[in-house]
């Protein structure tokens, strides 16, 4: 319930930013602007560390006027534990992005409210190290199997629709928030196991869709 309220507030805050533009003076000068934005994802780092794993994600975006082209790279080591099985994912991913910035900046600022699409590809391995056998009647005892079963050279391709808000906090340094919807395309799945976690996509669902929220910092370099 709390998460639902938070999601609604996040959505409302984002739309408030869009309305705030109505008051700004639109500049008549149209100079071509070019810039480079390296970014680091803090949200995934904290989220992964909290769960006993690690995600490093960096991005590089090229801005030309309001068009943005970007690449995202990430490396992950993540455990996944449930009552019925435990496994570990290790892998990396990259994403290619095109986005458009809808926010009208005053000259000299580079805040952004963007909408974009991405193509993503991840390669990874699973190590399954425990699962539970449950009998069909409670008269018998369950049993844990522990061993090391590896599923190597798995991969996944998917598409994303992303929206990001980037605001300058001080000279050149920006705080960014993102939201994305993901759609799984295809990839090499493990034999006799599930495609349960994909680096970059994170936890999968029975449907091909996924959803994510995130935040990070970036530095904008005007060229």
């Amino acid at each position: 319930m709390l998460k639902f309220i938070i999601n609604i507030l996040t959505l409302l805050s984002g739309t408030t930013l869009l309305f705030a533009q109505a008051d700004s003076i639109v500049s008549n000068e149209k100079k071509a602007s070019l810039g480079l934005r390296p970014a680091y994802d803090i949200g995934k780092k904290i989220w992964s560390r909290y769960r006993g794993g690690n995600i490093d994600q960096i991005a590089l975006h090229l801005n030309y006027n309001n068009h943005i082209a970007g690449i995202v790279w990430g490396k992950e080591q993540m455990p996944f534990t449930t009552d019925r099985y435990d496994f570990f994912t290790s892998g990396s991913y990259f994403k290619l992005e095109y986005a458009y910035n809808f926010y009208e900046n005053w000259p000299g600022t580079s805040n952004e409210i963007t909408l974009g699409i991405r193509y993503a590809h991840a390669t990874f391995d699973y190590t399954l190290y425990r699962f539970q056998r449950i009998p069909s009647v409670p008269v018998f005892m369950p049993a844990d199997e522990t061993f090391s079963r590896e599923f190597k050279r798995l991969d996944a391709h998917w598409l994303e629709i992303t929206s990001a808000v980037r605001a300058e906090i001080f000279r050149g340094l920006y705080l960014e928030l993102h939201i994305s919807g993901k759609y799984y395309l295809n990839g090499k799945r493990p034999q006799n196991f599930g495609l349960i976690y994909i680096p970059g996509f994170h936890t999968t669902n029975v449907s091909k869709f996924g959803f994510g929220l995130g935040y990070g910092i970036s530095y904008y370099l005007r060229l």
Partner: protein
């Protein structure tokens, strides 16, 4: 803009909702057994109790078709099949052995235990009510197929 972003950052610290999946599949397959009258070659119900060890009741029914569960922590058991457990009972012992294997079902369910290479051995006594055991399908994976025929 700046203050708004600080507030938003605090909110986004929490992860998005994750749906709790439910598992609706049975966690292990059962040995489907038919009871057949040896003379008429037709299915015939028997009043039956199946025991594991001294007194663990595995199944108890009057029927001609029974799902018999197997344990998942051992690959060899001896079941006692008791005909007419109330009065005039007759107990036959059967040794059952198999290989334990698993099939992945889903993220919510994990693995389903299945049994392969089923073997059954009737222990002869002075008065067996079970005349013959036929293994129709030694791979116990689904509920819809019959695995064993017990002729009585």
């Amino acid at each position: 803009m700046r203050r708004l972003l600080v507030i938003l950052s605090g909110l986004v610290l929490l992860t998005a909702c994750e749906r709790d999946d439910l598992c609706l599949e049975k966690p292990a397959a059962d040995m489907n057994t038919l009871f057949i009258n040896r003379i008429t070659q037709e299915r015939e119900a028997v009043e039956l109790m199946v025991l594991y060890g001294q007194d663990t009741v595995v199944q108890q029914r009057a029927t001609d078709s029974l799902h018999i569960p197997l344990p998942v922590d051992t690959s060899r058991v001896t079941y006692r099949f008791i005909k007419n457990p109330g009065n005039n009972s007759n107990t036959d012992q059967v040794e059952i052995s198999y290989t334990i294997d698993e099939i992945f079902i889903s993220k919510a369910c994990g693995f389903k235990t299945v049994f392969t290479g089923l073997q059954m051995h009737l222990i002869n006594d002075s008065d067996n009510w079970i005349k013959q055991i036929e293994i129709v399908l030694p791979e116990i994976k689904t509920d819809t197929l019959n695995h064993v025929k017990i002729y009585h």
